[in-house]
């Protein structure tokens, strides 16, 4: 029976090619728009560390020495708090983080100096965030302690300076210091660049910059402070820094700490530790408040910073309103089309076709349109993603059609057109045969 219905459907579609094209196009455009935005949304709102993110935490304390007018702790920490918490080594893994820019040249490579972004961090960073290596390894905890002049570089920088060859052991000039390369990363592009997401709530929804590339140079935290002395900037300050005072001793926040805690007991243990640290600092007179500590897990922290740009979220809403318009359109057209064939359906019913048979026949026709629309929608989705990849936004190069979204496109197309077909088919199947035969 299905083959026969299929045949009928194709005949009916061929009989009014313009209308068929219109319906297919409407579904295709609706599917294309909603799948494009859904794919972007999916790629930008995903978990950057699947399977591990629930163990990664972002501790915060309030280091202000006067009562903080803002009720929340700052998004970063001052040097002393961050280093105290890091040195205590109470978590399974812990990494300090701060970012700066500095001049970089590679001796023996004939290329002009460039300003590189440098991530100052500690050795746990690489295993904690599962950062992949192409050559060499991360530096060790001893390197952190010895203030070793070593660095890990990105694969982009390695391609640029050394044409992708194994550059472990070679030397870079960072500002005025000789630094030895100990590791080269494999291409690594977390989405978002989660480990340095801060200040999202002050960005008015313009958060595309959270999806930028990781830094080109990674250096042990303490040795990088020596190498790029004076090159670091505070995130914000709670008092005017005195002239000539190093950033390390200034009333400013500029260092972040990430910790890995593998069990619920350790999480609550670390929360207690954070509270007791704040208590102790208050007793020492350094903190004004001991109760203003907080520890989000990674995904909570990303949510708190509302990392998905509001433009992207708006586009998703828009696309689904658009899909709804296209669906209404198709339902209306299908309904008109089926009802126009009332006479034909009346004859079939009179000759013994059941309601279910008429319903099935109409649904097959609707599904055929849906399938064609889905194919068109897939092509339009590819076009849409291609357009987004060409946009001047940081996340452009992250955008691609992944298999799950590919499947979803088709499921959505068929579901949409079946949905659009059910009501018209139902109406068509209820046509009273006698009335129609009389008018023939």
């Amino acid at each position: 029976m299905f083959g026969y219905y299929m045949d009928l459907a194709l005949r009916s579609l061929r009989r009014s090619p313009v209308l068929t094209a219109l319906m297919v196009l409407a579904i295709a455009v609706g599917i294309g728009a909603s799948m494009t935005t859904l794919t972007v949304m999916h790629l930008l709102s995903g978990d950057p560390l699947p399977g591990r993110s629930q163990h990664i935490f972002y501790p915060q304390v309030d280091p202000t020495s006067r009562l903080n007018p803002h009720s929340q702790p700052y998004d970063m920490m001052d040097y002393h708090s961050a280093v105290d918490l890091w040195s205590a080594q109470r978590a399974d893994r812990q990494a300090l983080i701060t970012v700066s820019a500095l001049r970089l040249t590679a001796p023996t490579v004939h290329q002009p100096a460039l300003m590189a972004q440098m991530l100052s961090t500690t050795s746990d960073f690489f295993p904690m965030f599962a950062v992949p290596f192409q050559y060499g390894n991360a530096w060790t905890a001893q390197d952190d302690a010895r203030h070793a002049r070593v660095a890990v570089i990105s694969s982009d920088l390695n391609n640029k300076l050394f044409q992708g060859s194994d550059s472990v052991g070679r030397t870079l000039w960072l500002k005025d210091a000789d630094v030895r390369i100990v590791g080269v990363l494999a291409p690594w592009r977390p989405s978002p660049q989660f480990y340095e997401v801060v200040g999202g709530r002050f960005s008015d929804g313009d958060t595309a910059s959270f999806y930028g590339r990781p830094e080109d140079v990674f250096m042990p935290f303490f040795s990088s402070l020596e190498v790029n002395d004076g090159g670091f900037n505070p995130f914000t300050c709670w008092n005017a820094p005195d002239p000539g005072v190093k950033l390390q001793n200034s009333p400013c926040v500029w260092v972040a700490l990430w910790v890995q805690l593998d069990s619920a007991a350790k999480v609550s243990g670390y929360r207690d530790y954070l509270a007791s640290y704040a208590e102790q600092q208050k007793a020492l007179g350094r903190f004004a408040r001991a109760d203003n500590t907080r520890m989000f897990d990674l995904m909570q922290w990303l949510d708190f910073n509302r990392v998905v740009p509001s433009d992207v979220r708006l586009q998703t809403w828009l696309a689904f309103a658009f899909l709804a318009i296209c669906l209404f359109n198709t339902i209306g057209l299908l309904l008109a089309k089926f009802l126009r064939r009332a006479g034909e359906i009346g004859v079939r019913r009179a000759l013994g076709a059941s309601r279910a048979a008429v319903f099935a026949q109409c649904l097959v026709e609707a599904a055929t349109i849906g399938l064609l629309g889905g194919l068109g929608g897939l092509l339009l989705t590819l076009l849409g993603l291609w357009l987004i990849r060409r946009q001047p936004v940081e996340y452009a190069e992250l955008i691609h059609l992944d298999p799950s979204m590919f499947g979803l496109t088709f499921a959505l197309a068929i579901a949409a057109s079946l949905l659009a077909g059910v009501l018209p088919a139902l109406r068509a199947s209820r046509i009273a045969p006698a009335l129609q035969l009389k008018t023939l």
Binding site: L25, P112, L333, A336
Partner: protein, 406 residues
């Protein structure tokens, strides 16, 4: 025109009629909000900025030795002056829309500290000698800095310069001292204080605010002797010389500062980059609106065509009993007018609701009321245009159809 028969016929086709009404309602709601967003973005992109944008180029010099700034900067400026076509050269710490923002909070009382509640956040522009002229700042009141103020003002590793003079923008002056002259007033942030010596036309901050233009103009200017923070070398020239001058200046600064990194661009590039994602979003919204309207129009065409085909006999009968072509034409047009009318009434309510939702959940302002009737009229026109083809075909049905069976 009798509209009762139209209602009678619509009642018979209740579901298609409801669907088309819903489609128009949704289209109206989306159109209102999308056009409003497009307008807002175009407004943001074109934010006025009282410097000589058309003639300004910049080379950013990074990685210099801070200890040599006092001798390097005058030497660099002198070298840039020798480039043909350069009218003036100056150094600053940052530029409008460069995203390189150095902000500070000041109060109006002499004991204000930066963490006090009633302080206001401003962006700091440090100017080297000649930067005021190179930027093309427009003085509205008072004066620019004099040579002594430039020479005596140092940073010495602190956050703010040791001078005690400041230039503020007109908007900021009006916001801080709404009912008195800004000249001679002071802003404080213990232990620093600055007295306003001049008011300039509105210059945008390095990071504009999408919420309020007033906040976007909270810019302040301070004199500074040659210092490492002055890394933006500004060059002013005739607009058509800029491309050549940027290249020449980048090369020259690179040559005399071999250890540093020089990167040049025109101010138009800076503005373009700043608003790039905003303008691409605006274009996307335009595309969505156009396609959505096209889909809606084709939906109306398709549905009306069917109704026309379905009613050929009735139309023939009406024609046979005396209806003119005009009557048939106006029947379908009125029908469409009523459907669209119901759609836009629903759509305007929906548009208003969506706007309220977006105001709460996204960075959106209240939509001015006239967007609602405007998009209603647009959809009405679209409906009339879409129905014209099928309606003309209906009007062309000859009366003789009535006498034929099927």
């Amino acid at each position: 025109m009798e509209i009762r028969p139209i209602f009678a016929s619509l009642r018979k086709h209740r579901i298609p009629a409801i669907l088309i009404v819903l489609e128009i309602a949704l289209a109206c709601a989306v159109l209102c909000n999308a056009v409003f967003m497009i307008g807002k973005r175009i407004g943001d992109i074109q934010i006025p900025n009282a410097i000589d944008e058309r003639g300004l180029s910049v080379v950013v010099l990074n990685g210099t030795d801070p200890k040599l700034a006092a001798s390097d900067i005058p030497r660099n400026i002198a070298a840039l002056r020798t480039i043909a076509g350069v009218q003036s050269v100056g150094v600053t710490s940052t530029l409008p829309l460069s995203r390189n923002n150095w902000g500070w909070s000041f109060g109006l009382k002499s004991d204000s500290a930066m963490t006090d509640k009633n302080t206001f956040n401003v962006s700091l522009y440090f100017l080297g000698v000649g930067a005021d002229q190179t930027l093309g700042l427009q003085l509205k009141q008072g004066r620019f800095f004099n040579a002594d103020e430039y020479a005596d003002s140092t940073l010495g590793g602190s956050a703010l310069p040791s001078a005690h003079v400041v230039l503020v923008t007109e908007s900021l002056a009006h916001q801080l001292w709404p009912d008195k002259a800004a000249l001679g007033q002071s802003i404080y942030s213990k232990p620093y204080y600055y007295t306003v010596v001049g008011v300039v036309a509105d210059v945008v901050r390095p990071q504009a605010s999408i919420h309020s233009t007033q906040r976007s103009y909270a810019s302040t200017f301070y004199p500074l002797q040659p210092d490492a923070t002055l890394g933006y070398y500004l060059l002013r020239s005739a607009p058509h010389d800029r491309a050549r001058i940027v290249r020449a200046a980048e090369q020259k600064l690179g040559e005399i500062n071999p250890a540093a990194v020089a990167k040049g661009k025109t101010f138009d590039d800076i503005r373009g980059q700043y608003f790039a994602d905003m303008s691409s979003m605006a274009w996307m919204l335009v595309l969505v609106c156009v396609v959505m309207l096209a889909v809606t129009a084709f939906g109306i065409v398709g549905l009306t065509s069917f109704w026309v085909a379905q009613r050929r006999r009735q139309i023939g009968i009406r024609r046979a009993v005396g209806a003119s072509r005009g009557d048939i034409l106006s029947y379908f047009r009125t029908e469409n007018f009523l459907l669209t009318g119901m759609g836009v009434v629903l759509g305007m309510a929906l548009a208003f609701g969506i706007n309220i939702y977006l105001m709460h959940h996204y960075e959106m302002d209240r939509m001015p009321w006239y967007y609602l009737p405007a998009s209603a009229v647009a959809l009405w026109l679209l409906g009339q245009l879409a129905v014209l083809g099928p309606a003309l075909r209906a009007a062309a049905v000859p009366p003789v159809v009535a006498t034929r069976s099927v």
